[in-house]
Symmetry: C2
Subunit: 155 residues, 2 copies
Amino acid sequence: MPKMSQAAGLHRASLKKLHDLDAALELMYYGWRGMTLEADDYLTKQGLSRPHHRILYVVARQPDIAIGSLIETLGISKQALNRPLNLLLERKLLTSKRSSEQHRSKLLRLTATGQRIEQTASDHERKVMRDAFDRVGTRGAVAWMAVMEAIADNN
Amino acid sequence: MPKMSQAAGLHRASLKKLHDLDAALELMYYGWRGMTLEADDYLTKQGLSRPHHRILYVVARQPDIAIGSLIETLGISKQALNRPLNLLLERKLLTSKRSSEQHRSKLLRLTATGQRIEQTASDHERKVMRDAFDRVGTRGAVAWMAVMEAIADNN
DNA sequence: GTCTCAAGTCAACATGGTTGACATGAGGTG
DNA sequence: CACCTCATGTCAACCATGTTGACTTGAGAC
């Protein structure tokens, strides 16, 4: 785990805007950072990091997910999944067991501790979102989601 | 440069939502991906990547920036800056010269080629934003910026 | 000449990815 | 039983991006 001087010199730089949409680009960058900053701090204290959280997040929302599905959902290789997943199993934040029908697959689930950590980390992120939404009202929140959906589905 | 199978299995996974704001968390994640996807593809073809683009982006908007300021703006160590910066100098996308008053500092500027590449990469990102904003109108765009500002300034 | 300070460089390390190759373990089929 | 398939697990090599720490270089200032 890197030391993560964390937000040390990370006040949004005020750069000259060459184009209309430069502000939007920068907001996306700092928005992502802003949302994940506290969660990452918390995870670091737990000896975990973003990939671990991603695993916990997915498993929390799809209990008994097989490893292959998890790999596909996360969009990384099984080798890349291997280390963080094993750490989570060793730490008993996750359990794996063979399926009764599909004995080939291993099914993953959160333990109580894993649930707690996933929830705390995600809570940090949700809090940031909630505070932001509170400032702009429901209509603003709806508009934000519409924009983000358009961007996300940009393929 | 990693091969970047790029969006291979990266259609937004549809996970069960445990909380109200889970959708927002996922939108932030996929939004960031969506905005940077095409730019990253382009950069990869140029043998560059995100850190190089970040450098070009900042220097484009702050010509004659000193290396120390650049380090501060980017929020990384000088050692981390070193490699991508040297690549950009070797490729002549950037020039550096000593300041006339502040002979200690080196000032960075984009070359014509550097400008072209910075612009093309940023154009990809701006296009994604423009398309999204077009779909939701000015009011939606303004609301999006307000939310993102609230998130970004969340310190 | 010496001090300061920006910049440059080198080594060691951590992390999060990638491919490729191969091993293991469980079911299904001949 | 022997064999094939398929999910999983593991090993090695590699790359990119970052970190600290330690040291050098080069220019100005005193």
